[in-house]
Symmetry: C2
Subunit: 161 residues, 2 copies
């Protein structure tokens, strides 16, 4: 997915209302440079396990070296989406979805998020909003997919004249 | 779910190997007290949207007041699981899963995580490990479910004699 046609370049973009979106619309975020210190600070607070905290101890684990918490990758992905990677009117308000981490996120990774609109569904009961399903992939500078997620967002409609 | 039989009390518990687990096993975490400052610090770094940053601005949004980023709820949930809420040998290593936030997490919420083993599947190709599916619910002090998640974990087997 998301490799055959050019996507919207990162940077300031007009915020989309539900009415502006259709399946297949694609967006790309700016980049975030991750280092070992960021990984360790997040892990110390939220995911204090040896493979997220200590490069030496991590060598003897399933990860074979220091790796970011999946929730850290998810949080950075959210930052990249909120700061221009997914320009939605009303912000990014998620009800939930699916998430997976096909490969570990490592120190030195440069993260970027590519997103694609899967479906757009106006609400039957609330004429001022609807549901948009988006699929996002978080990649590093080598193109490795570190996180895949598909999630439902509440998006407002344009006010009627 | 998770209300009919007593669960393992929070606190230090022997780490379980795959061989020790079966569907229906239940665990409860310690508690985490959340306040507005924590919500705002996390949001400033990872989810800088008005409804996570500014109590006044949040009043006019879908949330109707300051609410934690869903990824903040997820990160706190992970901390509660890692620090005794889900005592697994080898740590908590997730490949992914489903997550939803039925209600906003608010300042003043006291979070706790109740978890239940859904399935235990030894690996066919790797005799030293297997896959465990766990379902967790994060609740506040009123019993409101703030997050539901179901996820796959890699869990080691006991070494054979």
């Amino acid at each position: 997915m998301m490799t055959s046609t050019p996507s919207v370049p990162p940077g300031p973009a007009p915020a989309r209302y539900l009415d502006d979106l259709q399946a297949g619309d694609r967006f790309s975020s700016a980049e975030h440079a991750l280092d070992a210190a960021q990984i360790q600070v997040f892990a110390a607070q939220f995911d204090p396990q040896p493979f997220h905290l200590d490069p030496e101890a991590a060598k003897d684990t399933l990860f074979g070296g220091l790796a970011a918490s999946g929730w850290h990758t998810a949080a950075i992905t959210m930052r990249l989406l909120v700061t221009g990677g997914l320009p939605l009117a009303g912000g990014i308000i998620g009800a939930g979805g699916e998430i997976s981490w096909p490969r570990p996120t490592r120190p030195g990774d440069l993260l970027r998020v590519d997103s694609e609109v899967v479906s757009v569904t106006p609400s039957r009961s609330r004429p001022d909003r609807g549901m948009v399903v988006v699929r996002s992939e978080t990649r590093n500078q080598h193109g490795d997919v570190l996180q895949q997620s598909t999630y439902k967002l509440v998006v407002p409609r344009r006010a009627r004249a």
